[in-house]
Amino acid sequence: MVRRRPFAAFALALLVLVIVTCVAAPLVAPYPPDKTNLLSSLQGPSLSHLAGTDKLGRDTFSRLLYGGRLTLLYAAIVSGVALLTAVPLGLISGYRGGPVDRAIMSVNDIGLALPVLVVVLVVLSVFSEYLVIAMAALGLLLAPPMLRTVRGAALAVRRELFVDAAVVAGLSRPQIVFRHILPRVRGPVLVQSAIVAALAVQFTVGLSFLGFVANPPEASWGSIIAEGAQVLSKSSWMLLFGGGITAVVVLCLGIVGDALRDIAVGSWTRESTAASRRRRGRRRVAAEPPAPAPRPASSAALLAVRGLSIAFGEDEDLLVARDVNFTIEPGQAVGLVGESGCGKTSVARSIIRLLSGDGRVVAGQIEFDGRDVLGLSGADLASYRGGSVGYVAQMPMAALDPTVRVGPQIEEVLRAHESISRAEARERTIELLAKVRLPKPAEVARLYPHEISGGMAQRVSIARAVAAKPRLLIADEPTTALDVTLQAAILDLLRNLGRELGMAILLVSHDLGVVSELCDRAMVMYAGEIVEQGPVDDLLFAPAHPYTEALAACRPSSTTVRDRPLLVIPGQVPAPGDWPRHCHFADRCSHRTEQCVQRPVPIEPVGKGRESRCVYATEMLREGTREKARA
């Protein structure tokens, strides 16, 4: 912790120092707190009086120490009461749920609404002789927000799947609470404790400023500030030191609290590979040998991607896609297939310049209709997006603004590309909604996204994406989040729209079957590279790369014989940053030879309109034909 969070460690040390010094005031203070010396009143800091003196000549530093003792003692009482109330009740409330939870929360809600200082003042005035009771009351009043947080944490854990698994395994309730719930709740409790402690100090000092805590000549930090206020015109030192020490203590508690929160969360989140790599030490992926000269695109190509490489990460280049080359002709439906992490989504999003966060193109060109896409900006970029290329995202609901009705979201896109009136935009929107086969389009336009189903939301998304009549539509896994019966309908819709509007489609998917339904050509990506591309039927029935072959064969289909085991691809996909410097698939490939692991394999043409990144592509094709001839 010290290594990674120097601030917090320092704050903690400072905190401990202050507490220990104040508690040991009788041993440490240079003067007794009430020793007056009218000759040296209101002096500034000096060697004999580190913090100066007050009106009566008493040493401020000593008074700060003794005052700290009193202040911190009461603050501790306040914190203790708050913690003892909030933690057990919050745990019970969150874990048990039901009527117990409801009862505790109703009382807690009332507590949340009470004005803390005013109520404490009432208690103080009634129990004027018994300060401890007022402090306890303050503790109770500070408990409700913490109770709510603890309850939330307990509730969240209770819903976790591993708690279900523990129940199934036959663990008793106490065992579940101790092994699974408490460790998870420990973090928020610690964080909240720091916050409550800080608030306790603040309120105690405030009350003592008002004169309710220390009885003169006793000192407390608040009373020192009050005295300082009285002599403001003559000397500001008391004010400075009294408030300063309070602020420092509260600040340290806050910093420690923040650090605790980071630590607590870190212990149970799964870091992305990229993030964990960053932690283990920066490793720059050295530039791989230059890609072969990009092939000139056919002049009629609608979209030409050449030598595209994409990387993520703020300072380093973690490549997620390397040397991607393909073209899309007007009106053509092309598939981009691969598993999660292969880079297909990054490639798709880079075409429409929607790479998220710290992703960026580090090499290559993208040309749409001959124009450079990567250099677009401002109004040109805005008109390109939506007007030349449309985009449909994977999660239908997430792609719509939940606070705006469906109709206006499409109208907005229409009016961003054409100067039409609101009324006309409304009409065109309803036409679009009808075109994507939504029933009662005029009614749907007036609904909010949460009022329609997932399938309908996806149609709305598609309507919005084609509103400005783009010539290329990028559909990024448009059916993955939908049921299979809806999937068929959406693919059908895309096919028809493409035909009607003369629109090319780039369909990104992990499912070769889905791609084969819609597309004429496809590219297969593996670990950031295109490993094969060509006509879809060729890819499926005469693959020229072992990965393509495996991809098609490893899923059960309706004809798979039950008693034969499925084709397994051993191992797993190498993550970005872990790519070998040779064929990325070699480590899992059953046809691997020495040749495959010596150097990176370039993608080469093999057959008509086909390319493959396998050294043995031609052999595979020959064998394939031989097998067919035999059958």
């Binding site: 009634v126 910093i255 008109s383 603004d401 606070t403 896109v413």
Partner: protein, 313 residues
Amino acid sequence: MTRLIVRRLLLAIPLLIVVSMLTFVLTAVAPGNPAAAVLGPEASAKEVDALSHEMGLDEPLPNQYMTWAGHAVTGDLGESLVSSESVGEALSSRLPVTLSLVIGSTAISLLFGVALGMFSALRGGSVGLLTDVLAMLGWAIPSFWLGLMLIDLVAVNLHWLPATGYVKFGESPLDWARSLILPWVTLAALGITGIAKQTRDSMREVMGREFIASLRGGGVPEWRIVLLHGLRNAAIPIVTVTGVFAIAMLGGAVLVETVFAMPGLGALAVTSARAGDLTMLQGIVVVIAVLVVIINLLVDISYGWLNPKARLA
């Protein structure tokens, strides 16, 4: 939407009842006699008895409460035990002061907080770090101490603004504002930084969501995306936090009014507490509880306006 408001108002009733019962219950539980506390140690037993009877302390507790409640509902909150002035009048003369203070500082916090937060979210980098540091400082520095330091600097040394006191709006709007500037800054210090941090965090989270990317993908201009879609969706947590700070400021007013010698409810609470003036305190507590209810109601109404799903609830 009306259902939402009615429900919130109905929920407020138990709150008000609990809050108003507070003093009675505490008095019953406390040792000693409130009448004796008011009159001081020199009072004779007869005087104490007389005052006790007048205060109704010899009645059983529920009766005491019902009597008070019955009067309160009609607007009669009793008389101060110390000065015999009508509690209602005292409160109504001081309410505008506290309201000016709290509403003003909330408005300032919201305005500057959101602006700072948006700037920090969209530009990022060092401004974000600065926001974090300021938020931490604003949270750690005691408000009344900040007030005193400001008085020292601005009023005493620089003579730019009055150090203490309050001028009624009716008398001179300019002086009213001048007398409130330092108190506003003091109270708002915590609010601005807290709201800025929440704004920044919310905006960052919302701007990373898929629908923002989809809108960009449709070619919608960036300013529309940030303001009409980004801020709209980020607004709910911001409103929540503003409500929390507004309530905290009601409490903070106690200290700030004392420091700046303003004749508001907070300062009155302190003096009443010192004097043991329970009737007055009772009135103050109830008024503040009503203000809290109003704040929560405003927050709920904003939710309804911002979040279509909530309107159906």
